[in-house]
């Protein structure tokens, strides 16, 4: 028995060493995966803390803090930016706000989670005084996402303009000129050409909101109307889902995304190997291309979304993270000023592009020389990324969030897309109706 335990011990040490990264991701302790501190060496700097789920955002804020300290020597800050796993960060923040203590000064909140934080007495600081004077410079649809009762609670990270990335190689093989694709009908025709010439699908449809929300918003509809009433089973949403369904089951130019979503390990490999001809997704996916799909460098072309019948909308602002100032903060005013400096000001927006590759929510920087300077994204894609954005800037649609948006997104994930697209045992109307009933029942009982 002793020998057994000895061997066990050795294996244990080996495994623990090998898995320490994985462990820290699942542990529920309060230790962050990574902490970046800026302004450590400055005496009597005000300490601010920032929580995020993306390491790149932590670096971004740390860099911004260094710049802030140079520009504002009279109000120095010591920023510690902590990165946690996605779910853990949002859960911890929610509990900290619920219990009234333990929250950071600033926090990133992802769009699917944002409305959880707009319930009850809102524990986030309104950012109106920072945003309103310069409202014209922003693509307003993006700011509206983080709004409740006329107050802005989140500073956007990017515009998240939905575009179509075409794989030029496959398009050439099929003999399709991507600039001739103007409407979704053209897209379907081109898709048929692609399928018959190459045997590859024109696109794949993820079984989460990426596969429906852009199409719904492009029609000028949404899951909730401006009064916050559920419109999940409205005719426009049904039509949008019918369209998505027809791509797979009627025109047969699309399949279901391998791995179920555009951020799965399985999909990255599939896409990188030229698995599909195009992908409809917000601009921020550029980072994923550069990072996970190196073989597609120089092959991808970015274009606005094809037009839907009776609509001028060429792009929809989707996804994205809002940075919020937490009311518990002892230095809320300083945190707000810093947030403006880092993400809302012109310089901040330029850095969003140069450091993170995000399409800045302020369109007045899209022509700035710093933005036009060569970088890795221009090399991977093409020169005129921002000209395309400028051409569609007035035709960008935004989304309406409600405190029940997380319920809708989870119904889409687990029921709607599954039974309509994968199983085919419900029509789009039936599936949407059923989910709408479930959610409206919940909304009714809560009021």
């Amino acid at each position: 028995m002793r020998k057994f335990f000895l061997v066990l011990l050795v294996f244990m040490l080996f495994i623990l060493g090998a898995c320490s990264d994985g462990e820290s991701e699942t542990s529920t302790s309060s230790d962050a995966d990574e902490t970046v501190v800026a302004g450590e060496d400055i005496e009597d700097a005000t300490e601010l803390s920032f929580w995020t789920f993306a390491g790149t955002h932590a670096d971004y804020f740390a860099n911004a803090a260094e710049r802030w300290n140079e520009d504002n020597p009279d109000r120095p800050i010591k920023l510690s930016a902590e990165t946690y796993p996605f779910d853990q960060m949002h859960n911890n923040l929610l509990l900290a706000l619920q219990s009234g203590s333990g929250a950071p000064d600033l926090a990133d909140i992802e769009i699917a989670k944002f409305s959880n934080f707009l319930k009850g007495d809102i524990q986030l600081e309104p950012l109106n005084e920072l945003i309103e004077p310069e409202l014209d410079s922003f693509v307003e649809e993006r700011l509206g996402i983080y709004t409740k009762d006329g107050n802005y609670y989140g500073a956007p990270t990017h515009l998240g303009a939905t575009v179509v990335y075409y794989n030029q190689e496959i398009m050439d093989e099929a003999g399709v000129d991507i600039d001739s694709i103007e409407t979704w009908d053209d897209y379907v025709e081109a898709g048929k050409q692609v399928v018959s010439a190459t045997g590859k699908p024109m696109t794949t449809i993820p079984t989460n909101w990426y596969g429906i929300w852009p199409f719904v918003t492009q029609k000028g509809a949404d899951f909730f109307n401006e009064e916050g009433e559920l419109t999940l089973d409205s005719p426009e949403v049904v039509e949008a889902l019918e369209f998505v369904d027809s791509l797979i089951n009627e025109h047969e130019i699309a399949e279901i995304t391998p791995g179920g979503g555009y951020h799965s390990e399985e999909f990255y490999g599939f896409m990188n190997n030229g698995g599909q001809a195009s992908i409809v997704i917000p601009m921020f996916y550029m980072k994923d291309f550069v990072e996970y799909m190196p073989d597609l460098e120089g092959k991808m072309q970015i274009r606005p979304m094809p037009l839907a019948p009776g609509s001028d909308t060429q792009s929809v602002a989707m996804g994205g993270t809002g940075t919020a100032v937490i009311s518990q903060s002892e230095h809320a005013d300083l945190a707000k000023d810093f947030l403006y400096y880092a993400k809302l000001s012109k310089e901040g927006n330029i850095h969003l592009w140069t450091e993170l590759g995000f399409d800045p929510p302020r369109w007045d920087v899209w022509e700035a020389p710093e933005v036009r300077e060569d970088n890795v994204f221009y090399e991977y894609f093409h020169e005129d990324i921002f000209d395309i954005l400028l051409s569609v800037k007035d035709d960008v649609a935004g989304i309406n969030l409600s405190e029940y948006t997380p319920d809708v997104l989870s119904e889409i994930d687990s029921n709607i897309m599954h039974s309509v697209l994968r199983e085919g045992n419900q029509t789009p109307e039936e599936a949407l109706k059923q989910s709408a009933d479930t959610i409206s029942q919940k909304m009714k009982s809560a009021n």
Partner: protein
């Protein structure tokens, strides 16, 4: 066996106490010290860390959960809403979760009791070589991070024709299966991950139980001419009964509490709710959708289910009786 030993010790203690003479009168300053040294107090001092942590970390949250299940909880706005949370609970998603969890529990209990018992018996027999390696290999999965395991399982059972699992079924002429998106295979994956993870731990329990069986029993069985199966049926199995009851009970409790196995496969949202478990439903509603009162109500129901099932099981198998009765 263990119970018997404890019984003897108690008997001995009792004898000593009876024969003990009256203690001499104690001086005042020594009273505190002797109070701590007295046999009435010391046991409580030693168990106090457990009692205190139990009160703070288990009992208090449990009571709080009961209270919360009657409330709607939002930051700065906590209101009592009576039984509204409970009225909402019995919906299709909850019953789906209950059905999934029950199937999962039955499957894992069956697998995680029978297979480890057989494996432990094999590992304990003289016929098997390289026992140490097998024992360690079986135990390692319980030390691995379940998240890492989930990623490996996801890739292993990916839906494309090139995944390992689909290549294997392809050998038998079966078309690629969408493992993570079909009811039966989703359940299979969860049970597989759980079995793989906990097999080694249960083998350890059974190995410990097997060490306690007196070798003389087997020797006399040999003399009587019993074969291997008879020895297993009439000696090993009855002697392992306490261990079987114990392992089954913790497997039932673990089964109803299942969460990670489902979470690592689908991150909380499984297609058609094929992987929705009771605790997963609690997490989705309470935390992900910030409805803590409702989540607490689900938690109370899960608590009741586990309580009732475990008590019933222990009553039926006589788990409450003492080993020597």
């Amino acid at each position: 066996m263990i119970n018997k030993v404890r019984h003897d010790v108690e008997g001995f203690e009792f004898e000593r106490r009876k024969n003990r003479k009256e203690p001499p009168p104690v001086k005042k300053r020594k009273r505190a010290k002797s109070f701590l040294n007295s046999k009435q107090v010391v046991p409580y001092v030693f168990v106090s860390p457990f009692i205190i942590s139990f009160l703070i970390l288990t009992l208090y949250p449990t009571i709080q959960a009961f209270v919360m299940s009657f409330q709607r909880i939002l930051p700065g706005q906590v209101t009592f809403i009576g039984f509204q949370n409970y009225e909402r609970i019995f919906n299709p998603a909850f019953f789906k979760a209950l059905a999934n969890t029950t199937i999962y529990t039955v499957a894992t209990v069956a697998i995680l009791v029978l297979v480890p018992m057989i494996l432990a018996t094999l590992l304990d027999s003289k016929l098997v070589r390289f026992k140490t390696i097998f024992r360690s290999a079986l135990f390692i999965p319980s030390l691995t991070s379940v998240v890492v395991a989930g990623i490996i399982f996801r890739l292993f059972f990916a839906e494309s024709g090139g995944s390992i699992a689909n290549q294997i079924v392809g050998v038998f002429g079966i078309d690629p299966i969408s493992w993570q998106y079909t009811g039966w295979s989703g359940m299979l994956l969860m049970v597989l991950i759980a079995s793989w993870r906990w097999m080694g731990v249960n083998v350890l329990y059974f190995l410990a139980g097997l060490q306690n069986i007196s070798k003389e029993l087997y020797e006399s069985a040999d003399i009587d001419g019993a074969n291997v199966f008879q020895k297993f049926r009439y000696i090993t199995l009855p002697s392992l009964k306490p261990i079987i009851i114990f392992v089954t009970t913790i497997s039932i409790i673990g089964g109803f509490r299942v969460f990670e196995e489902s979470y690592v496969l689908w991150q909380g949202n499984s297609p058609g709710n094929i992987g929705l478990t009771l605790v997963g439903y609690l997490y989705e509603q309470g935390i992900q959708q910030n409805d803590m009162g409702f989540g607490a109500a689900i938690g109370v129901i899960v608590l009741l289910i586990i309580f009732i099932v475990s008590i019933l099981y222990l009553l039926i198998t006589g788990g409450f009786k003492r080993g020597d009765e």
